[in-house]
Subunit: 399 residues, 2 copies
């Protein structure tokens, strides 16, 4: 039967998890069961939620003993869209005390109704011509209040340094100094002039119902990728952008605002479910999430699981994991060890803060990546490579 | 200057709140300041974030000392839409450890760009003909897997009992047994037949870009109100529905999924900001939130503040507060004391579980409301009123 299985982490002082699980399975589906006449049971049985498993973790907190319970919700109860599914599995329940939704498993029939990435890891590699290595991405810095000539200089320097993908700052919205269309046009021109196979992810912003048309128009004008603050809009909005054949460029999901529902330990959603699994189903080609290294850090297991869910075997293409924040060239070996070849090394300060500018910063990252993929130590590579040497001198190596 | 002032609750082990506040004010706007040349400072000064206040609360937790800090973000930095504002004030910051966004203050120029409710408290009173008392609302029960004849019986009984507003269950989506359009049609017919001035809030569900058209069509077919799971979609989607003149019926914001970002004590958003202030700005005529009484309960201060923000003096119409869950007729005096005359008493089990059915349940609530508004005790009123007497006997009085 087509269904979604939700796994929750919850607590109970009296370990009455069976009662709690039954309460959820019924309360969020048909309401009651045992007191129904036989005929009504027959009529409703395909709509009844089912307790799949109950597992105490052995952990005891001030909220009581901890358990993970899984409930199956029949797809007959909801339309095949993420808003309906989220309301079903974590609508009222999200308000019911200390409870966290840690995973959703979709039956294949259901999963097939979601698009997944248009391009995915392989498509992005084709577009950037970057094979057999992690890609390198960077972000514009300090662009609020600046004009397009400022952006242009930065973009050119980053591309010249060998950056594969440049992205807008997520807080750069449509504005008179650097309007969306101007950014699209300058991006197209600068990439062409650079002679590189690079992408520039322009921040797609504005009112919800205008996004599709704006994105289509941007593509016509030469946009090569979009950045999208999916959690300020809604996963279904991302999905509609991904499903639109005219929006024929990769979409990068930014995690802005998602900390509001992933950061608390016992509430909200697990990071990997939201930033790994759901953005992939909804169609993100890239997923940005906090790296385990910077000051804005995600715990290492959650960061690794997020990347794993973005890449794991599924009916959908793979989403490129982009662990972000606190990244400098000296971290490339650690990133490579943690996230492997199918990941994107993304830096802001680690590119722009390089003494040789963003161009030198870009080169230093590419040198570090080449060294690590070739099995060479950074120290060794730095002997020959000035930009890398400068970077290591400034930021050091390792975590 | 047009701006939004965000107030955060955060923690620091070393009480370095000034440094932290300055870091936010700069980091989320222009990036750096003191090291900029005079000319650039001049160019950027209208975009610079500003620390408005820093107040230590005196509370000390395992996360360190607690403080509330307020930062002003110039409206020049974002487009006048909630996604841009949320990404600005709580985008990256939501991922930055233990921090909660507790309030947003919009300058009038900015607030005016948001619609607020189309009808609001007064408009709903006109529509229902219910003045000088709290309104009474109820929800369908156990409708998944049932057909329209089941819904029709329930709707008829609720209206006959004197319920002012009936709402769909939020987990009832478009489905073959009770399709959206059928529900709209039956609602119109049953309300007409009942001879009452009542509203039936049909759950508006489906894919984001199809909602407006669906809502318009529903209005043409006679829909009198909509229920909307705004947090499964996005506040901007609610706003676009509210702004559409053809969607000329009240919209009810359901809190489904919002617990994911309001329930943790030190993360996410304050309940009152989201369910009180923001849904009102975005255009909700009603806001449902957990009552402080039931098993799915909100702490009393947060519930009261939510109602306060829905009603407080502002440039927008008032949103009707609907404290929900765990409500039975015996709680009406407490509800009246806590939430006053401009609130809606909303019940599910407290209506349908009445020994005289939903009709008797509806009557019991209306009898309780009339008594309380007249300054009569429930016990006294129950002497004359059978349905109320039965309800008090079953559920008791008070909290």
């Amino acid at each position: 039967m087509s269904e979604v299985i939700a796994t929750y982490r919850l607590f109970d002082k009296k370990s009455q998890f069976e009662k709690k699980a039954e309460g959820i399975a019924l309360g969020l589906t048909i309401g009651s069961w045992t007191d129904l006449p036989q005929l009504e049971q027959e009529q409703l049985k395909n709509h009844k939620g089912r307790v799949v498993s109950i597992q105490e973790t052995g952990r005891e907190t001030e909220n009581g003993r901890e358990a993970e319970i899984s409930i199956a919700y029949p797809a007959a109860n909801f339309s095949a869209d993420l808003p309906a599914i989220l309301v079903t599995v974590f609508g009222k329940l999200s308000l019911d005390g200390v409870i966290r939704l840690i995973d959703l498993k979709f039956s294949d029939t259901l999963a097939k109704q979601f698009p997944g990435p248009k391009f995915g890891v392989n498509g992005i590699r084709e577009k950037t011509g970057a094979f057999n290595r992690p890609l390198v991405m960077s972000i514009f810095k300090g662009v609020i209040g600046r004009d397009t000539s400022y952006l242009e200089k930065q973009l050119y320097a980053q591309l010249k340094g060998g950056i594969d993908i440049v992205k807008d700052d997520e807080i750069l919205f449509d504005n008179p100094l650097t309007p969306f269309e101007e950014r699209v046009k300058l991006g197209k021109r600068v990439i062409q002039e650079s002679g590189k196979k690079a992408l520039y992810a322009v921040n797609l912003t504005g009112r919800t119902s205008e996004l599709k048309e704006k994105a289509r128009k941007g593509v016509e004008m030469g946009a090569s990728a979009y950045l999208f603050n999916v959690f300020a809009y809604g996963l279904d909005v991302l999905q509609e952008l991904a499903e639109d054949p005219a929006i024929s460029v990769p979409i990068m999901a930014h995690p802005a605002v998602s900390g509001a529902f992933t950061s608390a330990p016992f509430h909200g959603f697990s990071t990997e479910l939201v930033l790994g699994k759901l953005v992939r189903m909804a169609g993100a080609d890239f997923t940005l999430f906090p790296s385990p290294y910077g000051s804005v850090a995600l715990e290492r297991p959650a960061a690794l699981k997020t990347a794993e869910m973005a890449l794991e075997q599924s009916i959908h293409k793979q989403t490129f994991p982009v662990p972000s924040a606190g990244i400098h060239p000296g971290l490339v070996p650690v990133l490579y060890e943690d996230f492997g070849i199918n990941s994107i090394i993304n830096a802001g300060g680690g590119v722009h803060g390089h003494p040789n500018g963003a161009e030198g910063g870009g080169r230093a990252f590419r040198q570090a990546v080449d060294a690590v993929v070739a099995g060479q130590s950074l120290e060794e590579a730095a002997k020959e490579m000035e930009d890398l040497r400068t970077a290591l001198h400034l930021w050091g190596t390792g975590k």
